[in-house]
């Protein structure tokens, strides 16, 4: 009885979300991939626009046509004109796609080309996005919203706030994940925040704050027949006031009664019907902890981070179903994709609890505020599944991968004032609660300070109580089995147990005691069981392969065949700075090849924002930890043929030696070789043996030794402390003062904590070698060059492939050295080497025997799938070298980085040796300029129309930028320059308006004022040296540019390349061409 769907839809355009950024990350790769899959199933041809080249959705086989172009109205219109799609999907690419779609609708482009919006109508989207319309719409059905007033100026905001009464919350309309929003306790704070928010959005909302209320979300689905379901509800551990993206979240809700739950559920359905969503939306509530009073916070008329989480939490494929509903299906037409028998019109019943925990990387930034609040700062998240709250929170805290072992048993964090730290939460809040409980704070007291529901706190207290009980014992033999079992049921790791029992002995040989606990508990039969996620709490039989492990159970859901036909692929864990969607692409491609080659593909990963954790992607998915303990638990049950740990980034790679010691069959390059490349001393000795050059370095333990070494190599030097007090882990120091300051403030030098000091070579090119070798012989490779000189982290650099400006001799030497290294380490699998090149001298900086960040980029530009080849190699299948012509490209790929500084209040947006970008794009063009322009516009840069502010650093950098300055002048741009730069430009015959630094406060015009006045629409601010300072002039200018949403470039080489590109290539000349036509 299938419904007649819209058969006129033969070709659909899907808008992606672009580069990963804070507030908009990998979840949209997942939702977009699902939507594409749904279209494919219907035989509809698909066109995808997404410049994020590292995503799974932009891979072969997902969409029929892929455009690596910016998701902006200009480019999307061009693609529409070329492709003439019948329909467009706006709900699967986050706020970026939604905003772009609304603009295309408003400007009449969709109508002009006859493109039908599938799913939720645009009017409904606008009703939810525009705050005023939204409140009006919900008023019509007597649904309470947060009382807010829309204003468009600072004085109006003040008036509104005084009317509502402080504290108030300020939000920018049409903004991603709370961008530019925050709480204000007084007028001063309000003025500062409103000004900033108005720079992002013409409309700002001032609302009464409901700090301390519960925050609850519902994921709601509706078909065009008005059938509605709520797939999942979720409750924030952190009360209102902390952005849901910054909150620990559990599903289902834990502290709501049946009446509460269904009251809010009913309202959610009433809302979705009234707004007229077709597909999926989420409804966020503030809920009074003392009554059934509520406010609707917002409705997202699109797939969201929460919907991705809900899909993973329940096994209900929201994006897939939403896409089908967009085509006109009814929910009753679709099947539950887990049971394959029962209807998709149902609400999942969970027989487990999930807990999402955000991952922050604030330590990577200079000057950033650590407080968490109404604006999102986290860069990734994890989801833990278990059968008690204690179990999931402890699992989750290990998964976030910041050196924590769970809720207890961690290195104690230094908290000066616990009360304050509880009341004003930072990224460390959960560990502050642990400290408070350890210090004897009562649940009531913590509740009073944090407003976190007591239920969660009681549960956390249970963990602390158990850890105290464990500490009463000093040997495993004395430890009662019941207590050990209880600890495991509460999510304690073997390490936590070992630390409680063996105490200070642990320091000497943690691994030994760890294994002792493991063996002991296995002897007692205390082992986890594997359970399925089947959407119906075991009510119906399900052939589901979606699994997790728990100690709260006595029976496995899976019968293992022990046929050694499984290949386990270890995933990448939480997205973080330095490891994100690119490793998901690698993982997914490894799984696909494993399956294609006739093995059972098994995935272990715990990141809900990924495609690799879509249970459709493999034969078995363990949504669980990537710790040694848990991986071993799974391998014990799964008894696979082997394990692939070289496609998920550093987390799985780090397990190599320990797994090898337990006799695990690591496929590909051996653990010993991995160790030889990872261990700085061993690797260095090997290079010396091979006669390969490297920057001079030494591991040192005292100031005297450091100074002696610097006398030898000279400044600047790269300093890497092994123990970090605060701030970033690495720094370049240009003079003794900087060195002294960095070592005293940020690092600790001692015998226990040595510092690695390396010679830093200035104005050197950085070159990447990505390759796959088999038995020590390179099979495929890609050499790419950085546009910036060395000193910008390779994850932040703009990368060009194939290289356009390398000497043939340099290329030859790089190939030779790479072959030598591949042979010496007998590499079988993926690897990456980073080189420095100056003239034709090359030096090796580092070598990783795993897939690198740039694998998807080079694979897609070259159209040779490196992971497919690497996986075959690891499976022992002989691989042929591709024909030499395959490396001869008549186009260029540029990979550019996406930064999220606008979300990181106070952070200095300057690039250095530590990575700070949150995402990347990769675009293809006929030459560098075209590819660069596409790429830079994809990461949010705009071609300036008015004026450009130049302050271009040192004399050398000023000279480097002279050509670019000429080009700007010739193009008729008005140039503003700070004193030194102004002088330099003048001397070289380029007219410029002199503006003054913030420190020259009495002089006019002020650079900052010009930024505020929107006279400037591009800022090039190049710091003189590589040491970031928090309070300097440069910092203020850079920060102002970010806060006022003015494009900013801080690297002379990149700025020159970008300026050259937009001065020589008119926008209209950019070619609109899909990937397959290059």
């Amino acid at each position: 009885m299938a419904t007649n769907v819209n058969s006129e839809i033969k070709k659909v355009l899907l808008l992606g979300s672009g580069a990963l950024k804070i507030g908009e990350a990998g979840e949209f790769d997942y939702s977009g991939s699902q939507a594409l899959k749904a279209m494919k199933e219907e035989g509809i041809s698909t066109v995808l626009i997404n410049p994020n080249i590292a995503t799974v959705q932009t891979s072969d086989g997902f969409a029929d046509k892929i455009y690596f172009l910016p998701v902006t109205p200009y480019f999307v219109e061009k693609v529409i004109a070329r492709e003439k799609p019948d329909g467009i999907l706006l709900a699967f690419g986050g706020q970026t796609a939604l905003n772009c779609g609304v603009e295309l609708y408003r400007s009449g482009v969709l109508e002009k080309y006859g493109v039908k919006v599938l799913g939720t109508p645009v009017q409904a989207i606008m009703d939810t996005e525009d705050r005023e319309l939204f409140v009006k719409k919900l008023d019509e059905i007597d649904i309470k919203t947060i009382k807010s007033e829309a204003v468009s100026s600072v004085p109006d905001a003040l008036e509104a706030a005084n009317r509502l009464g402080f504290p108030v919350i300020v939000r920018a309309a049409y903004a991603l994940g709370g961008l530019g929003s925050g709480f204000c306790d007084n007028e001063q704070e309000l003025i500062a925040l409103t000004e900033k928010a108005l720079s992002f959005s013409p409309q700002v909302l001032v609302e009464k704050s409901l700090k301390g209320w519960k925050e609850v979300e519902y994921e709601v689905v509706r078909d065009r027949f008005d059938n509605c379901i709520t797939v999942c509800n979720m409750e924030n551990f952190d009360p209102l006031g902390i952005h849901t993206g910054e909150s620990i979240v559990v599903a289902p809700s834990q502290t709501l009664t049946n009446e509460d739950y269904h009251y809010l559920r009913k309202l959610a359905i009433k809302i979705i019907r009234h707004i007229g969503i077709v597909g999926e939306c989420n409804v966020q509530y503030a809920f009074d902890p003392q009554s059934m009073d509520y406010r609707v916070i917002e409705v997202n008329a699109r797939l969201s981070r929460s919907s991705a989480l809900a899909s993973k939490a329940t096994g209900y494929p929201l994006a897939f179903v939403a896409a089908k509903l967009g085509l006109g299906y009814g929910l009753f037409d679709l099947k539950n994709s887990v049971t394959k028998e029962t209807s998709a019109f149902f609400e999942p019943a969970l027989d487990y609890i999930v807990c999402k925990i955000p991952r922050w990387d604030l330590g990577k930034f200079h000057g950033v505020r650590r407080e968490i609040g109404s604006s999102m700062k986290s860069v990734g998240e994890v989801m833990a599944i278990g059968r008690t709250f204690e179990e999931v929170i402890q699992k989750g805290l290990r998964m976030i991968g910041q050196g924590m072992h769970g809720f207890t048993g961690n290195k104690e964090i230094a908290v000066e004032d616990i009360d304050k730290a509880l009341a004003e939460p930072t990224d460390k809040r959960i560990f502050v609660i642990a400290s408070a409980l350890e210090k004897g704070y009562s649940v009531d007291k913590i509740h009073e300070l944090t407003k976190i529901d007591r239920w969660f706190l009681y549960r956390l207290q249970n963990i602390v109580t158990t850890s105290h009980l464990l500490q009463d014992f000093n040997s495993l033999e004395d430890l009662p089995a019941d207590l050990l079992r209880l600890a495991k049921e509460q999510g304690f790791s073997d390490f936590q147990v070992a630390r409680s029992i063996f105490k200070s002995e642990m320091k000497n040989n943690a691994e030994k005691y760890n294994l002792k606990v493991r063996e002991y508990r296995k002897g007692l039969g205390i082992v986890p069981v594997v359970k399925q996620i089947d959407t119906l709490a075991a009510e119906y039989p399900a052939q589901t392969n979606y699994l997790y492990l728990t100690y709260n159970g006595s029976e496995n859901d899976i019968t293992y065949l022990h046929d050694h036909r499984s290949i386990v692929v270890l995933g990448s864990g939480a997205y973080r700075i330095g490891s994100s969607v690119e490793f998901d692409w690698c993982s997914v491609n490894a799984l696909l090849t494993v399956k294609k080659e006739g093995w059972r593909s098994v995935m272990i990963n715990y990141n809900p924002e990924t495609v690799s954790t879509d249970y459709d992607m493999c034969d078995r998915l363990y949504f669980d930890e990537l710790t040694f303990e848990r991986v071993m638990d799974i391998l014990d049950m799964e008894t696979p043929h082997g394990v692939i740990l070289s496609v998920g980034g550093q987390i799985p790679n780090n397990l190599a030696t320990r797994l090898d010691e337990r006799g695990v069959n690591i496929l590909g390059t051996t653990a010993k070789s991995i160790d030889n490349a990872e261990d700085r001393n061993k690797f260095s000795a090997m290079l010396d043996r091979l006669g390969i050059d490297q920057p001079r370095w030494r591991e040192l333990t005292s100031f005297e030794d450091i100074n002696k070494f610097i006398d030898e190599v000279g400044f600047p030097v790269l300093v890497r402390p092994s123990y970090v007090l605060s701030g970033a882990a690495m720094n370049v120091c240009s003079n003794p003062d900087e060195l002294e300051r960095f070592l005293r403030l940020a690092a600790n030098v001692s015998k226990q904590h040595p510092v690695v000091v390396s010679e830093f070579i200035q104005n050197a090119k950085e070159i990447e070698m990505d390759a796959v070798a088999q038995n020590g012989e390179i099979k495929v490779y890609a050499i790419s060059e950085h546009i910036e000189y060395a000193g910008v982290h390779s994850g932040d650099a703009t990368i060009q492939f194939p290289p356009q400006k390398l000497y043939v001799e340099t290329m030859r030497r790089i190939k030779k050295v790479s072959s030598q290294i591949a042979k010496a380490l007998n590499i079988s699998g993926p690897f990456n080497i980073q080189f420095l090149a100056k003239n034709n001298d090359i030096k090796v900086i580092e070598c990783n025997l795993r897939a690198s960040r740039s694998f998807p980029f080079v694979s897609k530009v070259l159209k040779i799938n490196f992971i497919d080849i690497a996986t075959k190699v690891m499976l022992g299948i002989p691989v042929e070298k591709p024909h030499k012509n395959a490396f001869d490209l008549d186009y260029v790929g540029i990979k550019a980085s996406q930064f999220s500084f606008s979300r990181l209040q106070g952070a200095d947006p300057v690039l250095g040796v530590d990575m700070s970008s949150t995402g990347e794009v990769g675009c293809i063009g006929v030459d560098t300029s075209e590819a660069l322009l596409k790429a830079m516009m994809s990461v949010g840069l705009r071609i300036p129309k008015k004026g450009i502010l130049l302050s271009t650093g040192s004399a050398k950098q000023k000279a480097d930028m002279l050509d670019a300055a000429h080009q700007l002048h010739n193009k008729g741009y008005r140039i503003y320059a700070t004193t030194g730069t102004h002088q330099f430009l003048n001397d070289n015959g380029i007219p410029a308006v002199k503006v003054y630094w913030p420190s020259q406060a009495d002089m006019q015009p002020q650079a900052l004022q010009m930024l505020h006045d929107k006279e400037i629409d591009l800022v090039v601010n190049v710091p003189k040296n590589l040491t970031p300072t928090e309070l300097g002039n440069g910092h203020k200018i850079r920060r102002a540019a970010i806060d006022l949403n003015i494009p900013l470039l801080t690297n002379a080489r990149l700025a020159s390349a970008f300026i050259n590109a937009f001065c020589t290539l008119p926008l209209d000349d950019i070619e609109i061409k899909p990937w397959d036509e290059y």
């Binding site: 009446e259 739950y261 149902f346 027989d351 119906l536």
Partner: protein, 356 residues
């Protein structure tokens, strides 16, 4: 660590599950059934349809929000579905010894102790549920450490409807129209739902011949056990059908109305007990998520000519309601009064009231 006694669940096929006691410390027996709802333990425990049953919650955490006060509002329980716990015991994976909710005035453990009902946690309820799903609902007993053994007890051999029904006639609410509500084990929310719609409700015992009193509409409540035991109610319904006055039924009411119409009922392998049963209104595109709690079902194929199925279960195709083709008689197998569960089908009450 909680100081708890061991408690063992023994099923009639000999399967044993070891757990820990958190409720009243006594042994008990009944029919073991599972419910996949994630909320609503106070409502479920006081639902008379659970009479004689041991309730297994598949959702692993239990007791989080405590228990609301036991008090009446407008002559019915304010928060419960009857005035006491009907289930014989409750079994979960994990019990929350600390609770938190503004409405709670005690913990679930305290309540169970007051009402002398055992509770066990620490049992793999997913494994237990899979066992019941594969083997069907079965009898079981709970033996608490240090307490006497008990015999297995099969509630379906008893007339449970008679056991839980009121023995007197009660009146609730006021209005121009009078609805006779036959108490086969009525959930208080059915009374609340009717009264809220401005009618006078006359609650009568299951075997009361309501044909002797004046009324405008007849409503047959939910109730526990085997519908074959309530033959007297069926006879009274048959008599009422001669008057042509509107009749509506819920759950047991659906089964009794079907029987009165001439159809047959049968026992499901393991029943429907959850908040997420999808139901489609026959002949339409309208689907509803419903709350359910029943072990017996109507065999749609045995419905006489003048009757037809009104709702059907979208998962297993079982009957979810019937209606007369011409007369104002209809009923639902699911629970439009919810409590616990989704409230999407409350319109059934409106439809009934409109007919009066």
């Amino acid at each position: 660590m909680q100081n708890t006694k061991r408690a063992t669940l023994i099923l009639e096929d000999g399967t044993r599950f070891e757990g820990k006691s958190f409720g009243y410390e006594a042994s008990t027996a009944g029919e073991v059934v599972f419910n996949t709802a994630m909320t609503g333990y106070p409502e479920s425990l006081t639902d008379p349809s659970y009479e004689g049953q041991i309730l297994v919650t598949t959702y692993p955490l239990l007791g989080n929000y405590g228990v609301p006060p036991k008090r009446e509002k407008d002559d019915v329980s304010e928060y419960y579905e009857s005035d006491h716990i009907h289930a014989r015991a409750i079994i979960a994976q994990d019990y929350s010894f600390d609770h938190s909710h503004w409405q709670a005035d005690r913990s679930l453990a305290q309540w169970l102790q007051e009402e002398k009902i055992p509770g066990i946690y620490g049992i793999d309820t997913r494994a237990l549920t899979k066992h019941l799903r594969e083997k069907g609902s079965m009898l079981g007993k709970i033996i608490v450490e240090g307490c006497d053994d008990v015999e297995f007890y099969d509630p379906n051999k008893e007339n449970l409807v008679a056991k839980v029904s009121t023995d007197k006639v009660h009146e609730f609410g006021s209005g121009d129209k009078t609805v006779v509500l036959v108490d086969c084990g009525v959930k208080h929310n059915i009374i609340r739902c009717l009264v809220r719609r401005g009618v006078k409700v006359v609650l009568v015992p299951w075997d009361y011949d309501f044909n002797t009193i004046p009324y405008d509409g007849l409503f047959i409540s939910n109730g526990p056990g085997n519908p074959d035991m309530a033959e007297k109610t069926v006879e009274n319904i048959r008599k009422a059908m001669t008057t042509g006055k509107p009749i509506c039924g819920i759950c047991m009411g659906n089964q009794l109305l079907s029987k009165a119409a001439g159809a047959k009922t049968y026992k499901l392998k393991y029943g429907h007990r959850s908040h997420n049963q999808p139901v489609r209104k026959v002949g339409t595109d309208n689907c509803f998520v419903t709350s359910q709690n029943h072990g017996y079902a109507v065999d749609s194929t045995t419905l006489p000519q003048e009757w037809e199925p009104m709702f059907v279960n979208m998962n297993d195709g079982t009957n979810e309601g019937i209606r007369h083709k011409t007369k104002p008689y209809f009923s639902a197998q699911f629970h439009p009064e919810a409590s616990s569960g989704p409230k999407d089908t409350e319109f059934i009450f409106d439809d009934f009231i409109k007919l009066l």
